[in-house]
């Protein structure tokens, strides 16, 4: 899911072909798990089908990697919507939160505003869970605690990242 938005973010900067996009993705988001070419091309196919990107040029003598893509107005709208909206707080969000932060920076958007909005969404969910466990039986309280500790870990990461956005911006945009 984040691969599609990452590709939209890269294409918002400039037109690119598949090989470029894989390089750009791995440079920012690899973390020991490079994205497969197959996933890049399948994602480009879906984005093109849905009108988010279109073919900008087809260079001669080419395989599929020689197709150069550009983002459409619909694609920019979709990227902006995704980067502006906090994620529903749930487990295992770390890759998505990181991707949104980095893409907000590389596309010149306000990553701080995104992180603040995400913090608010997380804290609201934590309030619901805290209210749920107050006066609840122990099993319910422990289940709520499980979710609370995970959300708290996300929030600590959000705060840490919020405090280091300037350095991160320099690193990912150089």
């Amino acid at each position: 899911m984040t691969v599609a938005y990452a590709l939209l973010g890269f294409l918002e900067e400039e037109t690119r072909h598949g090989y470029d996009l894989k390089q750009a993705y791995d440079a920012l988001f690899d973390a020991g798990r490079p994205v497969q070419f197959g996933q890049i091309y399948a994602t480009l196919g879906r984005l093109e089908r849905d009108g988010r990107i279109r073919l900008a040029a087809q260079e001669p003598g080419q395989g599929p990697e020689r197709k150069r893509y550009e983002i459409t107005a619909e694609g920019i709208d979709e990227l902006h919507r995704w980067l502006s909206e906090p994620e529903a707080p749930e487990p295992n969000l770390q890759r998505t939160l990181f991707a949104k932060t980095v893409l907000a920076l590389t596309t010149g958007r306000d990553a701080g505003a995104y992180l603040d909005a995400q913090r608010g969404a997380h804290l609201e969910r934590m309030r619901e869970l805290t209210a749920l466990k107050t006066g609840a039986d122990l099993a319910t309280a422990l289940l709520a605690d499980f979710a609370l500790f995970h959300l708290e870990a996300d929030l600590r990461w959000i705060e840490q990242t919020r405090g280091r956005l300037d350095s991160l911006r320099q690193e990912v945009t150089r």
């Binding site: 913090r119 608010g120 934590m126 959300l151 708290e152 705060e159």
Partner: protein, 226 residues
């Protein structure tokens, strides 16, 4: 129209070359429970102390229920703190030579309440907070959670309108921290007390109605009043 019980405008506070607060403006409404959150050194505790009249800001104003704190003399501010505000600190800050019940009774005794009456009210609050069985023990005989229950009883015994708490669970494990936050918020809610809690822990902030985030001495983000 402004229905804040506490209004702060443009608070600035320096400690030597360190700019602790750089122009903080906020409103807290009566009965609200508000977390002041943010990283270490952001100015959270300084803000709490300025809001509660413990520290005087270098610039800016704090108004409590229509009274400008900076216009009051030190004696009047001390009386205001004693009668209208309650305080809970990270390590309880109980008087080590006094038994728990005498610690709780202390603000009443200082304010002229007869000792028998003060002790009676202190015992009542210790019982409400589930700490009656430690009433006759001194602070060094208590666990961290018990110390904070006694500190909360001491903060509530005068019937304050606002309780200020600075990292009230900072010295506790998460189970004791949950218990302390539960009793603190339950009793604040039941008494209609405004609660202002400084914390760097999201799990503590989640007990509050809303959060004000302080970074580098300014309000970095704030949630809407509910």
């Amino acid at each position: 129209m402004n229905d804040g019980i506490i209004d702060a405008k443009g608070l600035v506070k320096d400690f030597g070359t360190t700019k602790a607060l750089r122009g903080v403006t906020l409103t807290i409404r009566g009965g609200e429970m508000v977390a002041i959150a943010g990283p270490s050194g952001a100015g959270k505790s300084t803000l709490l102390y300025c809001l509660s009249g413990i520290l005087q800001p270098d610039w800016g104003t704090v108004t409590f229920a229509g009274r400008r704190l900076e216009t009051l003399g030190e004696a009047d501010r001390a009386a205001l703190r004693r009668r209208e505000f309650g305080f809970v600190f990270q390590f309880g800050q109980l008087v080590s030579e006094l038994r728990a019940v005498d610690n709780v009774a202390l603000p009443l005794v200082i304010d002229g309440v007869r000792r028998v009456e003060a002790t009676h009210r202190a015992l009542d609050w210790l019982e409400r907070l589930g700490a009656a069985d430690v009433a006759r023990e001194t602070p060094d005989e208590l666990s961290g959670g018990e110390v904070q229950r006694v500190a909360i009883a001491r903060a509530l015994v005068t019937g304050p309108r606002v309780v200020f708490a600075d990292e009230p669970t900072g010295a506790l494990d998460s189970i004791a921290g949950d218990e302390v936050m539960t009793v603190l918020t339950e009793h604040a809610r039941a008494q209609g007390i405004t609660l202002v809690v400084v914390t760097h822990e999201p799990r503590v902030a989640a007990y509050m109605h809303r959060e004000i985030v302080v970074r580098d001495g300014t309000v970095a983000s704030r949630e809407a009043v509910r």
